[in-house]
Subunit: 349 residues, 2 copies
Amino acid sequence: MQSTQDSVKSSAKVTIADVAREAGVSKGLVSFALNDRPGVAADTRARILQVAEALGWTPSLRARSLSSKRSFALGLVIARDPEVLGSDPFFTSFIAGVETVLAPEGLALVLSVVPDEETELQTYRTLVSDGRVDGVFLSDLRIDDARIQCLADLGLPTVTLGRPDQPSPFPAVSIDDTHGIAESVRHLAGLGHRRIAHVAGSPAMLHGSRRQEAFTSAMRAAGLGDGQIVETDFSIAAGADAARRLLSQPEPPTAIVFANDPMAIAGIGVAQELGIRVPEDVSITGFDDIEFARYVYPALTTVGATPLVWGRAAAATLLGLIRTGGADDVDLPAARLIIRGSASVPAPG
Amino acid sequence: MQSTQDSVKSSAKVTIADVAREAGVSKGLVSFALNDRPGVAADTRARILQVAEALGWTPSLRARSLSSKRSFALGLVIARDPEVLGSDPFFTSFIAGVETVLAPEGLALVLSVVPDEETELQTYRTLVSDGRVDGVFLSDLRIDDARIQCLADLGLPTVTLGRPDQPSPFPAVSIDDTHGIAESVRHLAGLGHRRIAHVAGSPAMLHGSRRQEAFTSAMRAAGLGDGQIVETDFSIAAGADAARRLLSQPEPPTAIVFANDPMAIAGIGVAQELGIRVPEDVSITGFDDIEFARYVYPALTTVGATPLVWGRAAAATLLGLIRTGGADDVDLPAARLIIRGSASVPAPG
DNA sequence: TTCGCCGACTAAACCGGTATAGGTTTGCCC
DNA sequence: GGGCAAACCTATACCGGTTTAGTCGGCGAA
């Protein structure tokens, strides 16, 4: 209140040189103190940090990027038809989870939405050659996924969402979704269903084929044969088509296990449209537990995925990989079946 | 195939200095040629670019950022409860639209998902002080929105999604959503409905209050009084609650206009749960035309928004603002009513 | 012929950090 | 008391572009 002090003397950004001068040390030492590295006396370090604080100095991200060859950002590339993407709430929740660990670290998330795989590979290359990110999340793993080799070649630190079907140099953060499918089948079998069908996701996608396998083996284990399977691309439209096909048969299944919630919800809609009651005439289960699942009628019996938790774990793992050069695989708790109203005992006969 | 040529001689990144040497000019001139500025002879420029091409030179984004004080990235901050966010497909489509214009320009999108407004303001400040972005999109405009002043103070180029209710220094990219609401009311009135209710979004949000006003004035214009209105926060849960409240009344409305699709879909669920038939006993309309709208039963009569187009327009406008220092407001074509099965003539009586 | 000016181009400073090769102290040991 | 190493710290060269202050040659006007 009493001094016409500096501190507002100029709106020019304060730099490391200002801090160094004010603290009576060299730029280099300020840098060392900031990144707390050995070789700085404790009291000197304290003084430097205090001066920095007083001057309100924030090291320039840009300068840091240039000299340290890091970018302080992580990347996520999503390859999907935007139209289809919209109905899948996975990514928004996943990203929210990622943010919870990035934000406190001062890291940013660079997001790309691209239409196809070729563009996706190109995007990774650009991301690397621009030095835009320090690492990426690899999602929607596919069978024999070309992106793994691409990212390995690029030398870009990566965390895969799920364990690839091929040798991979990257840590995987996975959630066991086969358990939930098996639980679904057991639940339905326990209710008395014998003709259970599966609307599978794309067999080219790892979680699609894995859930399908889980379905088959659970069916066999329950002594129900292989069960009828219709493959889709995970889209709502495809799910609706599959449901229509299954339910229009002479002897339709009494229960359908859908590989994701959007398709299951479309399935409920198709059944109703056909005058088939859910769950009296056909039981339906989904996978994901998206918010809609609780609010459609009947409420969807589904398997609860936790994209937010997944995002958090993936971000923590990627951060560890980048900082220490290595990271272990992480296995999240298996997704569990959530019982609501869309599955019940089959109609007699 | 025949020459053991260079080009792979060293994996070291080729820099502007390499290009300059190879082309026999100075670094500065290469820079001038690259950013095609006056003062370079046409043939010299051509030669430089050709050498750059031959050497496979890509200017370092980091170096460019440092010296030019730009970051070649745009930002989008979303403040929402991640749980609620997931059910709203708006952003994924919007982002996809944004990407279609950013990608060809070599720009990246930095995305932040934050839990509340205070964090959002802080995020903008960090984004600016880190020089992380060259501009941002401001979405989910609120009444008397504090973010506008904040962004103006920060001097961050901004495009608002919709026209704010206060003086704003920023260009607005808007879509008229009142038209669609009015169309909905007229459609329902034309079918013979007299008791029409509105499940409004948050009155604190601009599109919430605007749609509500549009509803009210359309009702009056149709000579149907003010109509019953329930305010929500746009969330599915709130929409379900509102529907339950409305439909449990002694004299429930025969039609409900929902401020968005997720709430409308929840509304259909609630009605079915209560044993109220849609559309026989109650007609329902939504807003957004999310993908689910086509696949629930009955298919949702709703107003078609076009987030992808919006994203494209917003990105183009923001780009223009950043590059030329100014940009005009853009008005997208009004959202139109899409008639499906969830609204029909009311039951007699 | 000479001056002035303009367009093309060069050299070097600069952006704001990081990294590294020295320089001082200081303390300890023989 | 000289020798030496560890602990601290400084000076300076980067990182790879952009930008500015000049340099230089040539041409039109005086």
